[in-house]
C-alpha cells in the first residue's frame, strides 16, 4: 500500500481574473498584420471586397482587444483555477463514469492520419477511418447483442432521441398511430422523458417502491393499448439492479410496445448482461463514458444507437458497411429517421472506443464491470461508517457500480446540507460531487462512482476527506456551511437570479443589453 496523504493543505490558485470581455484596451493587438504589397493590392483590390456584400459586417464586432501575452496569461490563470479529472480523484461525479482515459488514445486521435481527415473526402481516401467505425459497430453488436448499430449520434441524449424517433417510425408503419404514451421512471435520466415529450408523446412516470426499483404493479396499471414503449435504465443511479427487468419488458411487449434500455453508463453490467438477451428492442451507449474518452467539458461525446433487426431500417444514417472489398457510407434507407447531426458521427471518440475495446478484449470488458462493482462495494463499506451518512432504499441489498447516498441524518443533526458538503469537498482538492438529478427522490443526495480505474489508496483518500468533513459538520458546522475557503472561488454564488428572467443572460451581449443596464 502506498502513502495516502489525508492532510494535503490544498490551496487552489486564486487569481480573481476578470472575464476576458472586460479586459484590454482599444487598439491592443496580438498580431499586427502587415498591409499587402502595393502590387498585390492593385491586382486584387481591397481585401474586404473579396467577400460578397451580404457577408460583410457593417460594424466591427465588439471583441476584446489584447496582446498575445495578456491572452496567454489570462487562460493559463483560468487553467489553474480548474480541477480536471486528471488532477483529482474523480470519484464524486457519479453517473458520469469518470474512468481513466488512456493517454495513448490521444496519440491516435491527434495523429495527422486522424486529425487531418475531412468529412468531404472521397470514401476511397478514408478507408482506414471507415474500417475503424465499421469494426466498432461490429464490436458493439457483440456487446449489446443487438443486430444493427448507428454511431451517428453526438452523445447519449441524441442517441435516446434517435431511439424514440425510431420507435415512432415503427409504430407509424405498423398502424399504431394511436400509441401516444411512453413509460419511464422518475430516476431515469431526464433525456428519456425529454426525448419522448419532444417527439410528441405523453410521458408516464413510475416511482420507486421500497426495493428501490420502479413499482411493477404501477407498470401494470400504466400499460394499455396506448403504450408506445418503455424507456428504462438498469441499474438506475441508485446502483440497484432490477431483477424483474424481464417481466417489465414482457409486460410492455404484451401490449405491443417497444422497450428501450438506457445504457449511457454500461460499467455495472459490461460483459455480464446484454440488452437484447433481456428482451430489449433497443439500447444506447455513451461511448465517452463506459468506453473511455475525456468528457465533461473536456471533449466531445458520442452515442451509439443499437437496435434489433426489426428496427434496423429506422437507424440514423449514415452507417458504415463493408461489401467484402471496401468500406462505404450507407445512407440509403428510405425508412431511416435520417441524420441526427452532420456527417458520420464523432470520429475521435470512435477511435478511442475502438482502441479501448481492442486493448481490453472480451475478458477485459467483463473485468471492467467486476472491478467497478468491487470498488463501489468497498467504497460503500467505508463511506457508510461515517456518522450521518446513509443509503436509503432497499436496505441490505448490494449496489452495482454506483450508489445514491443521503446526508439527511447529518443535515438534521447539524444543519449542514449536501450542497454545503459539495462546496467543502473542493477545499480538500477534489472536484465537487454529483448530488442527483431533479427532482431529488432521495433527500440530501450524494452519488459517488469509483469506476474500475481507481485504486484502494485512491478510494481511501476519498473516504478520508468525507470523514473529515462529517466531523467538521458535527464540531464546527460553520466551516462547512461557509465553504469553499481554499478554492479559486471563495464566495458562495447567489444563483437565485437564475429563476428571474430579468437577472440572467446567456451571452455577454445579452448581459450588457438587458441585465447590466437595469
Amino acid at each position: 500500500m502506498g502513502t495516502i496523504n489525508t492532510e494535503r493543505k490544498f490551496q487552489e490558485a486564486r487569481w480573481d481574473e476578470p472575464i476576458i470581455l472586460e479586459m484590454g484596451n482599444s487598439g491592443e493587438r496580438g498580431v499586427l498584420m502587415p498591409s499587402a504589397e502595393e502590387k498585390v493590392q492593385k491586382a486584387v483590390g481591397p481585401a474586404d471586397a473579396l467577400l460578397p456584400e451580404g457577408l460583410r459586417r457593417k460594424n466591427a464586432p465588439a471583441l476584446p482587444e489584447l496582446s498575445q501575452m495578456q491572452v496567454l496569461r489570462h487562460y493559463l490563470r483560468l487553467s489553474q483555477e480548474t480541477i480536471g479529472t486528471d488532477i483529482n480523484i474523480d470519484i464524486g461525479l457519479g453517473t458520469c463514469t469518470m474512468k481513466y482515459s488512456p493517454k495513448i488514445h490521444e496519440n491516435f486521435v491527434r495523429s495527422p492520419k486522424v486529425r487531418d481527415l475531412h468529412p468531404y473526402q472521397d470514401e476511397s481516401t478514408v478507408q482506414g477511418m471507415l474500417e475503424i467505425i465499421y469494426k466498432t459497430q461490429e464490436y458493439l453488436k457483440s456487446i449489446s447483442g443487438m443486430d444493427a448499430i448507428s454511431l451517428q449520434p453526438s452523445g447519449g441524449s441524441q442517441a435516446i432521441y434517435g431511439n424514440v424517433a425510431a420507435m415512432r417510425r415503427y409504430h407509424e408503419e405498423h398502424g399504431n398511430g394511436h400509441k401516444d404514451e411512453i413509460i419511464t421512471t422518475i430516476l431515469s435520466h431526464p433525456a428519456n422523458p425529454g426525448a419522448a415529450s419532444t417527439l410528441g408523446y405523453k410521458v408516464i412516470t413510475l416511482y420507486p417502491g421500497p426495493d428501490g426499483c420502479p413499482d411493477i404493479e404501477a407498470l401494470k396499471a400504466a400499460i394499455s393499448d396506448k403504450t408506445a414503449g418503455l424507456m428504462i435504465t438498469n441499474p438506475e443511479d441508485t446502483g440497484i439492479y432490477n431483477e424483474r427487468i424481464r417481466e417489465f419488458v414482457d409486460l410492455v411487449h404484451s401490449v405491443g410496445g417497444l422497450c428501450c434500455y438506457d445504457q449511457a453508463n454500461l460499467n455495472g453490467v459490461f460483459g455480464l448482461t446484454r440488452a437484447k438477451d433481456a428482451g430489449f428492442d433497443m439500447c444506447h451507449y455513451n461511448l465517452h463514458k463506459s468506453f473511455s474518452s475525456p468528457h465533461g467539458c473536456q471533449g466531445p461525446g458520442a452515442g451509439a444507437q443499437c437496435v434489433t433487426s426489426a428496427l434496423a431500417k429506422y437507424l440514423a444514417t449514415p452507417t458504415v458497411e463493408f461489401d467484402g472489398n471496401k468500406y462505404f457510407l450507407d445512407g440509403d434507407h428510405a425508412d431511416s429517421i435520417g441524420k441526427l447531426r452532420k456527417f458520420y458521427g464523432v470520429p475521435a471518440v470512435m477511435v478511442r472506443t475502438y482502441a479501448y475495446i481492442r486493448t481490453l478484449g472480451a475478458d477485459g470488458m467483463k473485468q471492467i464491470a467486476e472491478l467497478s462493482i468491487l470498488n463501489n462495494n468497498y467504497l460503500l463499506l467505508e463511506l457508510l461508517k461515517i456518522k450521518g451518512l446513509n443509503m436509503p432504499l432497499a436496505e441490505g441489498k448490494r449496489r452495482l457500480e454506483q450508489a445514491r447516498l443521503s446526508w439527511e441524518e447529518l443535515t438534521g443533526e447539524t444543519g449542514v446540507t449536501t450542497d454545503d458538503i459539495c462546496r467543502r469537498i473542493v477545499d480538500y482538492g477534489f472536484q465537487d460531487y454529483f448530488a442527483s438529478h431533479h427532482p431529488r427522490v432521495i433527500p440530501e443526495p450524494f452519488t459517488p462512482e469509483p469506476v474500475e480505474t481507481y485504486s484502494k489508496d485512491d478510494i481511501d483518500e476519498f473516504v478520508a476527506a468525507f470523514k473529515s468533513i462529517a466531523k467538521e459538520a458535527y464540531e464546527t458546522p460553520e466551516v462547512v456551511k461557509s465553504a469553499p475557503h481554499k478554492a479559486a472561488l471563495y464566495t458562495q454564488i447567489d444563483d437565485s437570479g437564475l429563476s428571474d428572467i430579468d437577472k440572467f443572460a446567456v451571452t455577454w451581449r445579452a448581459y450588457k443589453k438587458y441585465v447590466a443596464k437595469k
Binding site: 412516470t205 396499471a221 443535515t411 443533526e413 454529483f434 427532482p439 437565485s496
Partner: protein, 371 residues
C-alpha cells in the same frame, strides 16, 4: 433582515402524554401536572444556535417572556420586545397580538414555533402578507408551513439572507378538531394559506431544476386543456394553490379554500357546500361530472381532509378516470408511501384505492398508489 420570532411555549406539551394536541388550558394543566416539559423552548434554542453566527445580519423582533424573549436572551442574541403577554400562562390571543405587532413593525419574515393551532393563529392575522417559517414544535402538524427540523428552518432563513430573488410558495394551514380527535374522530380542515420560502438547492452540473412552479404550471395547462374540451361535463374543483393555477389559466377566480364548479368553461358555483354539489350534480338523472383535486403535501390525503364538501355521496359511483389529480413530482415525493382517503366511509375508501395517473406536468403523468 428584520426577523419576527415567536414561540408558543405550550406547543407540543401534551404530545408525549398522548393527549393529542395542546389546545385549551385544561389540557395544559393536565400535561404540566403529569410532568410534561416545554419542548418548544428546547427547539427554539436549536434554531437560534444555528442562526446565531449570522446575528449581525438579523434584527430580531419578539414577544415577552417564554414567547421569545427568554430564548433570545439565553442565546445572547440582541432583540426588540414588541409587547408582553398579560398573564404568565400565554394563549392564542397573545400569539395573534405578537403577530399583529410584528406586522406593524414591518418585519421581513416571521419564524414561529408551534403546531397547527399556532399556525392557525398566525395565519388568522397574517394570511399570506409576510413570509413565515414554521419550526415544528406541536403535536398536530398537518399544515404544510413547517421546515422539517429547527436546523432546516435556520437554513431557510439563511437562504433568504443570501438570495437576491428568493422564491416563495403558499403552504396549507390545516388543523383538526382536537375534541373530536380525542373521541377517535379525525376531522381536518383547511384554514388558509401562508407564504413560505422555497428551499434552494445548488444547481448540480448535470441537473437543471426547472422548479416546482414550472411543473405545476405545466400540469395546470394539461388539465385546463382537458377541461376546455369536456362537453356536458361538470368539473368539481377542490381547494388549493394547484387547482387555483388551473383557474388562473382559464381566466377564472378560484376560491382558494373552497370547492368551485365549472360547466363548459363557465364558473357556475363558487365555494359550493356539500348540499350545493348534490343539488347541482344529482338534481337530474345522468349528469356527468368529474372531480379535480390535489393532495396535501407531506400528507397524501386525497379526499376527506380539507375538501369535505366533496362528500361520499358525490364520490360514490365515480370511476377513477373521473378523478383528476394534480400534483408536482416534489409534492408526490414528500408523501410517505402512498395517497389515502378518509371519507368517513371505509367501503368507499376501499373503492377509491388503487393506482392513479396523477398530472405532474404538461402531458406528464405519474402512476401513484392510493391505499
Amino acid at each position: 433582515m428584520k426577523l419576527g420570532f415567536v414561540i408558543n411555549p405550550y406547543a407540543g406539551i401534551a404530545g408525549s402524554l398522548a393527549l393529542k394536541g395542546s389546545d385549551g388550558s385544561e389540557i395544559r394543566e393536565k400535561a404540566l401536572r403529569a410532568g410534561a416539559e416545554k419542548k418548544a423552548l428546547v427547539r427554539a434554542e436549536t434554531f437560534l444556535r444555528f442562526i446565531s453566527p449570522h446575528k449581525n445580519n438579523l434584527e430580531f423582533y419578539t414577544y415577552g417572556g417564554d414567547m421569545g424573549e427568554s430564548s433570545l436572551k439565553k442565546m445572547a442574541l440582541p432583540f426588540n420586545v414588541l409587547g408582553r403577554p398579560d398573564a404568565p400562562e400565554t394563549s392564542a390571543y397573545d400569539t395573534t397580538q405578537a403577530i399583529s405587532l410584528m406586522k406593524e413593525a414591518g418585519v421581513d419574515c416571521i419564524v414561529f414555533l408551534g403546531g397547527d393551532g399556532t399556525a392557525r393563529d398566525v395565519c388568522s392575522v397574517l394570511g399570506d402578507a409576510i413570509p413565515v417559517v414554521g419550526v415544528p414544535a406541536g403535536v398536530k402538524m398537518h399544515s404544510a408551513v413547517y421546515a422539517k427540523t429547527p436546523t432546516d428552518a435556520a437554513e431557510l432563513i439563511l437562504s433568504l439572507l443570501s438570495s437576491s430573488s428568493p422564491l416563495f410558495k403558499l403552504g396549507e394551514v390545516m388543523d383538526i378538531d382536537e375534541a373530536q380527535f380525542r373521541q377517535g374522530r379525525l376531522s381536518a380542515n383547511l384554514y388558509g394559506y401562508m407564504k413560505i420560502p422555497v428551499a434552494r438547492h445548488m444547481q448540480g452540473k448535470k441537473s437543471v431544476n426547472l422548479g416546482e412552479q414550472d411543473a405545476l404550471y405545466g400540469a395546470a395547462k394539461f388539465v385546463a386543456r382537458e377541461m376546455e374540451g369536456g362537453k356536458d361535463v361538470f368539473y368539481v374543483v377542490g381547494p388549493g394553490t394547484s387547482t387555483r393555477c388551473i383557474f388562473d389559466l382559464l381566466g377564472l377566480e378560484k376560491t382558494l379554500l373552497g370547492v368551485d364548479v365549472l360547466f363548459e368553461g363557465r364558473l357556475i358555483k363558487k365555494d359550493a357546500a356539500a348540499a350545493d354539489l348534490k343539488t347541482l350534480l344529482k338534481g337530474e338523472e345522468g349528469r356527468k361530472y368529474k372531480i379535480v383535486v390535489t393532495t396535501i403535501g407531506g400528507q397524501g390525503c386525497l379526499f376527506g381532509r380539507g375538501n369535505q364538501q366533496i362528500d361520499p355521496d358525490i364520490l360514490r359511483g365515480l370511476s377513477k378516470n373521473d378523478i383528476i389529480i394534480v400534483a408536482t413530482p416534489e409534492k408526490l415525493l414528500s408523501i410517505p408511501g402512498a395517497l389515502y382517503n378518509d371519507t368517513g366511509d371505509p367501503e368507499l375508501d376501499r373503492f377509491l384505492s388503487g393506482y392513479y395517473r396523477i398530472r405532474t406536468g404538461d402531458r406528464v403523468e405519474a402512476v401513484f398508489l392510493c391505499k
